[in-house]
Symmetry: C3
């Protein structure tokens, strides 16, 4: 069994953003030389997500509005977590969108449907944060 | 390390449905001959889910009502994604219910609690769509 | 490829609770002797979650309030599942928080960011329930 590990780093200048990291994960897969197996991609922070969906700007705007509606940022004092913090909502948004994805590797490629793309979802940015890519297989 | 791959195809006549795919995944596991490992089952579409819960029609009705409440289909023009589309809500419902499940394989069987069953959750049906079963182990 | 399996048992005296199981998962990892691979931790019940987030009591209070707002327990007769049951909301809360986590193992340790901790999330307690730890790798 082979294994491969790499951290992907981000420094998002805004509080929230969705970044397509599919090319970086594909590069990891090439470096790993693994033909058959699984790749795990996860946020290493608890106010960020890794998820799979469409690379379409209208949808990303809709996600932003929708997440704000079901887990609003303000007023920040509605949350007990916000003592010296203002990111309680980010912990909720991250649960809705998920921490991680597991993707099949088949014949050396991400085994994806037509529109599947991997995103890093930032909900509390403006500092350096990272995601982990771990691949096992052979 | 052994590996196995199969696509499961669906042609749901309605916009939304929950389909129990546990027997199909068990069949894949038998075909793989894998005794110890992990199985990944994921939707290959971004408006569908694979999730684990109860095979109970009342609960499925409740899920349908609940998802419609937190991510309503109509009015369709509330979403920027809906330009020539009407499925933005399906992209949200799929995030709540999840893209994939990873299940342990122990002694050649899905290592499940009493009530765990695997479902394909369709949120934008009326066309041919598919899920992926990938098994690794030995 | 090595593999390891253990069930973690809980008997939560209240309906809902969040329990940090990171030490138990780390103990499993030590027992497995696996240095590189993946660990799957999943609830074996469909009204409970395993998720990764912060071990902070204010946040856990916020999660409780938030989940109650988006998937309320009462009135119980709003759900068709609640025929001889009162736990339909628990099936929804579990979908928001997730069934499982997959964590990378690197050099014999959980490959975690600074604040990542694994929780068992109970939404229908007051009885014995369990989570599964399955590790594969070498």
């Amino acid at each position: 069994m082979k294994n491969y590990r790499k951290e992907l780093w981000f420094d998002v200048p805004t509080r929230r953003a969705f970044i397509n990291i599919t090319p970086e994960v594909e590069q990891c897969l090439r470096e790993s030389g693994i033909q058959e197996g699984l790749v795990l991609v996860n946020a290493m922070h608890i106010t960020a997500s890794v998820f799979i969906n469409d690379d379409e700007s209208g949808l990303h705007y809709d996600y932003e509005q929708w997440l704000e509606r079901i887990a609003p940022h303000a007023p920040v004092d509605q949350y007990r977590h916000n003592v010296g913090e203002d990111n309680a909502d980010a912990h909720m948004k991250r649960q809705v969108m998920g921490r991680e994805v597991v993707v099949a590797i088949t014949q050396g490629r991400l085994d994806f449907g037509t529109w599947e793309q991997i995103f890093y979802g930032e909900f509390d940015g403006r500092r350096r944060k990272r995601a982990l890519v771990k691949i096992i297989g052979e």
